[in-house]
């Protein structure tokens, strides 16, 4: 839904680095995105293609690494993946406690770009 402003800010960062590194053409962009975000890969690429038309990033492929939502048990520190389909009745697989902290899944990160 909000892919457009997010893609615009990705493009801004890419174009800034393209100038810094005297890039003529961007081939691919590596992103890390948490699975708690509601972004859709297909729409991200479509919006990016639309926004990047006429820039050095035109035609660049988005390579998205999805980061799973992980919980850390407040009791024993065990880490395990959050099952988004059922958030109630979750207990730590290691010690059986029910208090957790969310340690990943909200990432929004540009890792790198392949460019010439």
């Amino acid at each position: 839904m909000h892919e457009l402003p997010v893609m615009q800010s990705i493009l801004n960062v890419i174009l800034k680095h393209a100038v810094l590194h005297r890039v003529k053409k961007v081939h691919a962009i590596g992103l890390s995105v948490g699975t708690l975000s509601d972004l859709e890969e297909e729409w991200m690429q479509k919006y990016f293609d639309h926004l990047s038309t006429g820039t050095v990033a035109e035609g660049a492929q988005l390579r998205i690494q999805w980061i799973p939502a992980m919980l850390s048990c407040d009791e024993c520190g065990n880490r395990f993946e959050l099952d988004k389909t059922r958030l109630d009745g979750i207990t730590c697989p290691s010690c059986g406690q029910k208090k957790f902290s969310l340690i990943s899944g909200r990432e929004y990160h540009i890792r790198d770009m392949e460019a010439e």
Binding site: M1, H2, S9, H21, F100, L102, H109, M113, E114, E116
Partner: protein
């Protein structure tokens, strides 16, 4: 063909917005104005609850309301009728507010004369969760008819909210909304979230919510 290089970037995508939001919070600290970002889906009862909150806090805090809507003035007119300054931001099709839009909207207020500004964000449980508005606290409303499964569908919204108001609580006996299951789902995502039950129609729970808000405001502007 030219050589292809791998260039490391390592930047957060929404850095610009986060910086703007931090600047705004620093500015609000100086003027002594607490900014509350209120989010929900359309029809959950944001405007009614704001009006009830204004009634409770009138005389205790100096308030203003920043209304965001894709394209209408209806809510700002309702708030202004209660005698509280209201500013309408039309997002022009945007599904959320970001910090720079909020900053622009706040220019219309004399912030030194206000203790609390409530942002009524665009009705939507998806996009507003992604964008830091510069608010000191995020609150969301989930109304009983929407169902207790919403944390499963919109986990990000529940994970960024400091307080979750379960509104239209007067409908609870008519629905199969399971409050215990709902609380557990919210606390799995966000153990620190405060959960309060309210009804904009009957006024149930509004005093407790207003007291919570007043405490937060006083702690911030102290």
């Amino acid at each position: 063909m030219a050589e292809i290089r791998l260039i490391e970037i390592k930047e957060e995508i929404l850095t610009d917005n986060r910086k703007e939001a931090d600047n705004l919070r620093a500015k609000l600290k100086k003027t002594g104005t607490f900014l509350l970002n209120l989010m929900s889906s359309p029809g959950a009862g944001k405007t009614t609850l704001i009006l009830k909150t204004i009634e409770q806090l009138r005389g205790r805090l100096r308030m203003g309301v920043l209304e965001a809507d894709i394209d209408s003035m209806v809510d700002a007119e309702k708030i202004a009728a209660s005698g509280i300054p209201a500013v309408q931001i039309r997002t022009g099709g945007f599904c959320h507010l970001d910090a720079s839009m909020v900053m622009k909207g706040l220019d219309a207020f004399d912030l030194k004369c206000l203790d609390l500004v409530i942002i009524e964000n665009v009705g939507n449980l998806v996009c507003p969760a992604e964008f830091d508005t510069g608010a000191v606290r995020n609150a969301m409303i989930l109304s009983v008819p929407e169902g207790d499964d919403k944390p499963l569908k919109y986990p990000l919204m529940f994970s960024v909210s400091h307080v979750v108001l379960v509104n239209k609580i007067d409908f609870l006996s008519l629905s199969d909304f399971d409050m215990d299951v709902f609380r557990e789902r919210v606390h799995t995502l966000n153990p620190a979230a405060a959960i309060m039950e309210t009804s904009g129609r009957t006024g149930q729970g509004v005093a407790a919510w207003a007291d919570w808000l007043e405490c937060e405001v006083k702690a911030f502007i102290a």
